[in-house]
């Protein structure tokens, strides 16, 4: 007995940061610097609160979390969200004094809070309502008229504000300032009439505004897409992963009567910390869109007409059967699940398809995964982060939040190499502006300065690498990533390819073979070498930067089979269109940009006759006499874990867990990086930068009525000095031309654009800038002429 005890004692590790305290007589171990409320949250004793949020700084605004702490002069009342734990601290949350204080606070908050719970969207999931029941006095002594404001007022196209309900907890305003970096809502008229407002007539135009609705502890903030759609107790919910971009934020998908009504962010520590961007949060509307494909379509003399699955699949099988060997190509797959990608890769293998690419020539080559991989957490705790990426605020918003937060807290130093100011420029330690095509020079210079060398030598370096400019060939970025990876020690790479499951699709068999990427495939197709082009949730006509190549490729394909949720520009040219189940309509797993596999859950039945991509692949295989040996999703998951390197040991039960599981990608063949010299300018004055904005004509945004109007529209942005030089006025029309073509665009002055470059957002309504892209030249130079 005594031997065992001494053995146990030897195993006790003393944590220098551990603090022993008691809460209501029970001993609790806390971490030094932690707030009492955070320590109490790990016990069964709940401390009521409104303003405290574990992912934001404490402000002690609502005073609801008062507790008693033993002090030298007896117990004293403190706010537990702003009082740090201490060794030997004695905390009581259940004394009569504490109860009186809590009841008093509730009574005070309810003095002016309207009792309109029956018609309030928050009713049923409202912290004020719940805590008024659990910690309130039950009655109010307040009989006077309550404060009145106009209700509700829209503070943006997405968010409504009801100031009567607001309890001034500072959560939304703190979020906007501290987390999102968009302090566009703030307390105004401080005093008896304190209220949250935007600047007069200026909307709360934050990409993260939906989070304020989620964290509002009352019904003061409501989101337009969910207002009056359901009561919380009628909602069914499934924990899932957002597949709008490749960050892979954890969400809970809430539905009622077989319709998705809302996404809420779930706090996943390595990924999204509970936050979502507005595009991810509100694009569920596209799932419910009446424009969804309902039945398979088949091309006839009078265009695409509805047909049955039997006819469509038979016809597809016939096309595939009669295709010449080596003349089938698959583009896409990054929009689906891991299981979808794997099943299609299996079908491709069975049919001997060598032409496949999950990207559309708008990302980086799959070799980017060949470098030592960094996770989001690695990037947020690195000594130095080098950004060679598109504007993360526009493309991967929640990754932007994480990096911004880390830079603000001085945890990381960001060195940004960019063609124009990005969302992170303000937070960068150094922002090196370079002309497109000159990254190599800029990086060489950077690596040669003593200051940078010192910084890069101080610890780990994470390169965040993505396609920052669609008007420039991808090899410019790859070359500098390679330079940094080979010269700097302790370096790892976080690839930021933007499509949701691009990493999964590339890892599970839809990566190009022998450098036969999407551009090569489309060129082959243009040359009549593709009998059957399969578009797996891909729209080359909208997404491939070289519009001309895409057009020739689509026109040159003998047959096109499209599997998609909507009829898009490309699938409109298909011979057969098969309706696919959308996000929220199928189970499976997805892989985020860092290689984290998490589950996506089915919440509603697939729209009309649509079905998951993997099912279509399996059925086609059966029709073509290739037995893939798959009957269920579980079969695929078993086979993936058994056969795909890196995915072994992964089980779905693990992926269902909130934080998923990281997979290591099978080694990819060594890099063949071209180190081209910087591209000299031709006589054209402006070098073009084309990049995506958060809201564009992407189908998920365009088909979500709340988001569609947020797309800024086409335009060209130049430095104010350049605008003066061109002689145009802000907002007037200019002709932008390359050596062969020209387009007419409204011009805007922007300080964020460097002189000598022109920024044009990609895929916006109006003019298609892709007409001017000449990526075969490496970069695109244009002229801008005033025509007004």
């Amino acid at each position: 007995m005594s031997t065992t005890e001494s053995h146990n004692e030897a195993e006790i590790v003393i944590d220098p940061n551990a603090v022993s305290m008691t809460i209501n007589g029970k001993s609790v171990t806390a971490r030094k610097g932690e707030w009492i409320i955070a320590a109490a949250d790990r016990t069964e004793d709940f401390i009521p609160r409104f303003c405290y949020h574990p992912r934001m700084e404490s402000v002690g605004m609502c005073r609801q979390c008062l507790v008693e702490v033993e002090g030298p002069r007896g117990p004293m009342m403190v706010v537990s969200c702003m009082t740090p734990v201490a060794e030997g601290q004695v905390v009581r949350t259940d004394t009569d004094t504490v109860k009186r204080a809590q009841e008093g606070m509730i009574e005070l908050l309810l003095a002016n809070h309207p009792l309109d719970c029956p018609v309030c969207d928050k009713g049923g999931e409202c912290p004020l309502q719940d805590q008024a029941f659990s910690h309130g006095p039950g009655e109010s002594r307040y009989v006077e008229e309550k404060r009145h404001y106009e209700k509700p007022i829209p503070i943006s196209g997405l968010v409504f504000l009801d100031r009567e309900r607001c309890i001034l907890c500072d959560r939304c305003t703190r979020f906007a300032d501290e987390v999102a970096g968009d302090p566009l809502i703030t307390f105004t008229h401080r005093g008896n009439n304190t209220q949250v407002l935007t600047f007069p007539d200026e909307p709360f135009a934050s990409y993260f505004s939906g989070n304020t609705v989620q964290i509002c502890p009352v019904g003061a903030l409501t989101a337009e897409p969910y207002r009056f759609k359901a009561r919380p107790w009628d909602l069914q919910q499934q924990e899932s992963t957002c597949t709008t971009c490749s960050v892979g934020c954890r969400t809970v998908v809430q539905s009622s009567r077989d319709e998705i009504l809302r996404y809420q962010g779930v706090d996943s520590d390595p990924v999204n910390w509970g936050w979502l961007c507005d595009r991810g949060r509100f694009n569920f509307q596209s799932t419910n869109s009446p424009n969804r494909l309902s039945t398979p379509l088949i091309k006839t003399e009078s265009g695409l007409v509805a047909t049955s699955w039997t006819v469509a699949l038979d016809e597809t099988a016939r096309v595939l059967r009669h295709a010449q060997p080596g003349s089938i190509a698959i583009l896409g797959g990054a929009r689906g699940t891991n299981e979808d990608a794997w099943a299609w890769a299996q079908l491709a293998d069975a049919l001997g398809v060598d032409m496949r690419d999950a990207q559309l020539d708008d990302g980086l080559p799959a070799e980017i995964f060949g470098y030592p991989n960094a996770t989001i957490d690695d990037a947020c705790s690195a000594t130095t982060v080098i950004l060679l990426a598109p504007d993360l605020k526009e493309e991967l918003p929640v990754l932007y939040l994480r990096l911004r937060g880390a830079a603000e807290k001085k945890k990381i130093r960001i060195i940004e190499i960019t063609t124009h100011d990005s969302g992170l420029t303000r937070y960068a330690w150094k922002s090196l502006q370079c002309e497109p095509g000159h990254q190599a020079e800029t990086v060489q210079q950077m690596l040669s300065t003593p200051e940078m060398q010192e910084q890069l030598g101080r610890g780990s370096v994470v390169v965040v690498a993505g396609r920052s400019n669609l008007a420039e060939a991808a090899h410019h970025t790859m070359a500098v990533v390679d330079t940094i990876a080979t010269t700097v020690s302790q370096v790892s790479v976080l690839p930021v390819l933007r499509r949701a499951n691009v990493r999964g699709a590339l890892s599970l068999g839809l990566a190009p073979r022998d450098s036969t990427d999407a551009a090569t495939i489309l060129e082959a197709s243009a040359n009549g070498k593709v009998d059957c082009l399969i578009l797996l949730g891909a729209d080359p006509l909208s997404d491939v930067p070289d519009a001309d190549l895409a057009r020739r490729g689509i026109a040159g394909a003998r047959h096109i089979i499209a599997i998609d949720t909507f009829l898009n520009n490309s699938s409109a040219h298909a011979d057969i269109v098969l309706p696919a189940a959308a996000y929220g309509e199928k189970d499976g797993t997805t892989t985020n940009l860092e290689g984290r596999v998490t589950n996506v859950a089915q919440s509603i039945t697939p729209h009309a006759t649509s079905r998951p991509d993997w099912m279509i692949a399996v059925e086609l295989a059966a029709l073509l006499n290739h037995d893939l040996g798959i009957l269920t999703l579980q079969d695929i998951q078993t086979r993936i874990t058994q056969t795909v390197g890196g995915f072994d040991g992964l089980s779905v039960s693990v992926a269902v867990r909130k934080n998923g599981v990281l997979v290591s990608v099978p080694p990819i063949s060594p890099l063949q990086v071209h180190h081209d010299a910087a591209v000299k300018r031709n006589a054209y004055e402006f070098r073009l930068v084309v990049a995506r904005k958060l809201y564009d004509q992407a189908i998920g945004t365009a088909m979500s009525q709340s988001l569609a109007a947020l797309a800024p529209g086409a335009g060209v942005f130049v430095n104010p000095h350049d605008l003066e030089r061109v002689g145009a006025k802000d907002g007037s029309s200019v002709r932008v031309s390359n050596t062969t073509r020209s387009v007419i665009l409204p011009v805007h002055a922007s300080m964020t654009v460097a002189r000598g470059t022109a920024f044009v957002p990609f895929n916006q309504k109006g003019v298609d800038i892709r007409e001017l892209l000449q990526t075969s030249n490496g970069v695109t130079d244009v002229q801008i002429a005033n025509i007004s």
Binding site: D182, P183, L184, I185, T186, F187, T188, H189, R190, G191, L197, T198, F199, P200, D201, E202
Partner: protein, 204 residues
Amino acid sequence: MSRLTDAHVALAKEIIGRYPRPKSALVPLLHLAQEQDGYITRDAMVHIGELVGVTSAEVYGTATFYEMFKFEPVGKYVVNICGTMSCALMGSEELMHHAEQRLGIKAGGTTPDGMFTLEHAECQAACTEAPCLQVNYRYRYRLTPADLDELIDDLSADRLTHEIPPHGTVAKVRQHIASHRGVGALAPELVTESPAWLNGKAAL
């Protein structure tokens, strides 16, 4: 109306230079804007936000805290009649009533000619001189309705401009603070030594 004039921008920059952080200059710059236009215009708030590096919403949030910043045009002369205890006992209600009748407006209103805005005010800390009022924050003591009439006559005829400048004017005499006398550009977290005048008596 308008953004800050070039001359005011130059002054604004000088004021910003007096503080370790630009946004500390927010309130002085709001005064400058109010002096320029008589009230704080929307454009001025946008401009000030640009000058000190905060959003317009943050400027608005700060500005609206202060009762003396106006966001709508007010008269050239803002008359604040105190209505707190001493003044109330000494006849401020009659004074207000008289002023309303004389100017033809209710408290809170502005005369159509843009000369006067009448406001009810809380204690102006001149209780021994009750009833009192302020015109553009310049005191007038122990007023009778007749005194008020005379005051309004004088103001209407611009006979008191030497004493009472138009609303918004911060001071007739501008102070110039030489840069070496400003707080300096050192942010608080960078200060490692206690100030010289403390003579080493207190550590930071």
